[in-house]
């Protein structure tokens, strides 16, 4: 947009010093490089998950594992709750980008309002995640390190699989321990990856609260710009971006 077009005219001394050839501040560039490294960490987790899944003959079925909704008892509502979580996170990304936009215009009141909405969205997402974890750990018995006992009754993990699939049913018939191992791996990866993501959301909410305090106190107004909102905004959008991939890998595929 404007910031790009303003300086795209080719000047001979782009790398000659005295200004940033990339036209970004040090802090913003370092945030991008931090996010790049964080993307590699999340990527390592997700690829490791994918590899384990590829070397498992059967894998728990998302539509069967994630079919519950708060206060709906045992009704079968696959993917509905996680869709709500996804909606909340996309929405909070929009309020964040609106805060960044208001920051460009030095509109202190709007920055504060949109940051507040972003914080509310982040907390709502974390609340949903807390419910989902509690549900999985409580009613399904899945957490880190569960489903390791070879004497576990088959029906306790059969509930996570799509038994209408002939190949899956065959594995349960011939070697149910393969399915037990998959269930164990599934829950380990699920809690590790969504936990790592949830940790990012938590720290994002904390940063947003700190920024809200600074905005209301007029710290950025005195500084003359709201670049901090932009930098934390990058982080927040990245967390949303990671969720897009987690959503696909765990709930859709």
């Amino acid at each position: 947009m404007s910031q790009a077009t303003a300086t795209t005219a080719q000047e001979p001394n782009l790398w000659g010093g005295g200004r940033s050839p990339f036209n970004v501040s040090y802090g913003k560039m370092m945030m991008w490089f931090f996010l790049l490294s964080d993307a590699l960490t999340f990527g390592a987790f997700l690829i490791s998950y994918g590899t384990t899944r590829f070397f498992s003959a059967v894998w728990p079925n998302a539509n069967t594992v994630f079919k519950s909704f708060p206060f709906m008892g045992h009704s079968n509502l696959p993917l509905l709750f996680v869709s709500l979580m996804t909606f909340i996170l996309i929405m909070s990304s929009v309020t964040m980008v609106l805060a960044v936009h208001a920051g460009h215009y030095g509109d202190k009141k709007s920055v504060a309002t949109w940051l507040l909405w972003t914080i509310i969205g982040g907390i709502a997402f974390l609340g949903c995640q807390a419910w989902e974890w509690t549900h999985l750990a409580g009613e399904c018995g899945g957490l880190w390190g569960t489903f390791t006992d070879v004497n576990t009754p088959v029906h306790e993990y059969q509930q996570f699989f799509n038994m209408n699939d002939a190949a899956v049913a065959n594995v349960f018939h011939t070697q149910p321990l393969v399915a037990l191992q998959s269930t164990h791996n599934f829950f380990n990866y699920f809690f590790t990856i969504t936990g790592f993501h949830g940790g990012h959301v938590t720290s994002g909410v904390i940063f947003n609260i700190l920024m809200l305090v600074n905005t209301v106190n007029g710290t950025y107004e005195r500084r003359g710009h709201y670049e901090m909102v932009e930098k934390i905004g990058l982080y927040w959008h990245f967390v949303d971006l990671v969720w897009v991939f987690v959503f696909t890998c765990f709930y859709l595929l």
Binding site: Y26, G50, N63, S83, V97, H101, G106, D240, L241, F247
Partner: protein, 147 residues
């Protein structure tokens, strides 16, 4: 007390210097009601609706069509839609599309490593499954005995 106020000034000067040196982003826009501002906001909401629509399509496919479609096609569609969403988030919400081209390339090139990672690791995973598939080995054995 005075030292605190002094620190604050130094910081303001430092950050102020940065804004003059580097960024057009912080060049002072003044009117939130300007057409430029409104087009920006319109663009943000447009992207929101796109992301929402794509997510709904994904959920619909996941709920209704996932059992009747070939798995490879399903994975292809889901990954395509995911990258589509990711592109919008990075380009519009994170404003990478508005940065200088050199910077975009600097950020995006390391991600090309993922192409190699994904192909290598997933291939290795399925190779491991193939090597350890006892059921097939057993079938093979029995057919030979039957002969």
């Amino acid at each position: 007390m005075s030292s605190h106020a002094n620190n604050d000034n130094v910081q303001a000067l430092y950050e102020g210097d940065q804004s003059k040196l580097y960024s057009g982003v912080m060049s002072h826009h003044t009117d939130v009601e300007s057409t430029e501002s409104k087009t920006q906001i319109k663009r943000i909401w447009k992207v929101f609706w796109i992301l929402l629509a794509v997510t709904l399509v994904e959920v619909f496919i996941g709920m209704q069509l996932s059992t009747s479609m070939p798995k490879a096609l399903l994975a292809f569609i889901f990954l395509g839609l995911t990258l589509f969403k990711a592109g919008y988030i990075v380009a519009i919400f994170m404003h990478l599309g508005d940065e200088k081209k050199n910077f975009m390339i600097t950020v995006l090139i390391p991600l090309v490593l993922f192409v190699w990672f994904i192909i290598a690791f997933l291939a290795d995973g399925s190779f491991w499954l193939h090597m350890n598939d006892t059921s097939k080995a057993r079938d093979h054995g029995t057919t030979q005995i039957a002969k």
